[in-house]
Symmetry: C2
DNA sequence: TCTTAATAAGTGATTGCACACTTACTAACT
DNA sequence: AGTTAGTAAGTGTGCAATCACTTATTAAGA
């Protein structure tokens, strides 16, 4: 076999790429180092030159997801609900572009044994809940929304995002996540408009 | 080892019981026939006297879940939103009593290779969506709710149930699913009340 | 500017373990 | 005595991880 050497940094990136693709395609538990090696185009043993264990590969994947996640900022002068819409839309679009996210995040198997992943998930969750709550609250404060419970509204929005993207992932991505997601968000928000 | 014989029917029930418990605890993919045998208190080989393959165990679990699922009927003279509340509450309560449900239903691994399960899931999903839609629609028709899109409201309610119970399952059932769920449903419905 | 030593990135073969499933035998009920 | 529910000890497979070894790339000394 003709060897195709690549610098380690590049190869590691490639391994992470393929790991994410395979995780989305087969499910995290069905991704073996052999399949991963085949996808990358190197031997199974070579995988372990770049990562000391399979677990480390998942850590790298988690790190990659974390680092490419769109930053949640936007020009702060836009109305709060516009910002919320933009954030949610961007979130859905990101998931569509990175289908490994629901596959990995919602996999019980990884959750059960990967402390770091569980931690990361909980933190993300809490941060988004706080962000959404503050957005709802400021929209209420300026009178754009009626007097609702901002925390509940935030929790409902989060459940919407998660429930929908999980179903999208399980149903082999058969429906248009962005369209369906933004449509349902629009519907949810229409109930809160100030009288 | 002292043998503890039991009639096959009883033993099969017990195996299904433990399979559900372990699936909820460890995730379906982490449930091995050895762990299952330990939990039941028989040898691993004995499992295969009662089920020809592991796949058949999952079929039996699916059948059990299907048969114990609460029927969705209620006295039809109650207001539609009361019926919806009752159905959703019962659904959450059932999940709490049967935590294997989200673990199995939302597992990619089983989804990927168990055609029957995927089918069942899709059918359940469609039926519930239709039921919820009709309930919302009749509440609108009698003037209990304002003129909203009943299909969207139903979809949002379903996403709420699924998103929340998945998170409850992943987070090791750390929060009170029934309380949180009914609270969020209440909140969702409050937006639709007729003016 | 050519050797040449050092290092980086690969390979095929193997190990050890966990798994689903099988086989040959055995004790308990009727 | 015959059937049934069990066991102990296997089999083969797939897996992550390791091993001894090879080839490509880089860099230093002449």
């Amino acid at each position: 076999m003709t060897r195709q050497r690549k610098p380690a940094a590049e190869r590691k990136e490639q391994i992470v790429d393929e790991a994410m693709r395979l995780a989305a395609e087969l499910g995290p538990d069905r991704m073996t180092t052999q399949k991963l090696a085949d996808a990358v185009g190197i031997s199974q043993a070579a995988i372990f030159r770049h990562f000391p264990s399979k677990k480390e590969i998942w850590q790298a994947v988690a790190a990659r997801i974390g680092s490419t996640m769109p930053a949640k900022i936007m020009q702060s002068d836009a109305p709060a609900m516009e910002r919320l819409r933009a954030i949610v839309a961007r979130q859905f679009a990101f998931i569509v572009k990175t289908p490994a996210i629901p596959a990995i995040l919602y996999s019980r198997e990884l959750h059960a044994e990967n402390e770091a992943l569980r931690e990361k998930f909980a933190t993300m969750q809490a941060r988004r809940h706080a962000l959404f709550t503050s957005l709802f609250q400021s929209a209420i404060d300026v009178g754009d929304l009626k007097e609702i419970n901002a925390e509940d509204a935030a929790a409902l929005t989060l459940a919407l995002i998660q429930g929908l993207s999980m179903r999208w992932s399980l149903e082999q991505r058969r429906f248009d996540l962005v369209a369906e997601g933004t449509r349902l968000l629009e519907f949810q928000l229409s109930g809160y408009a100030a009288a």
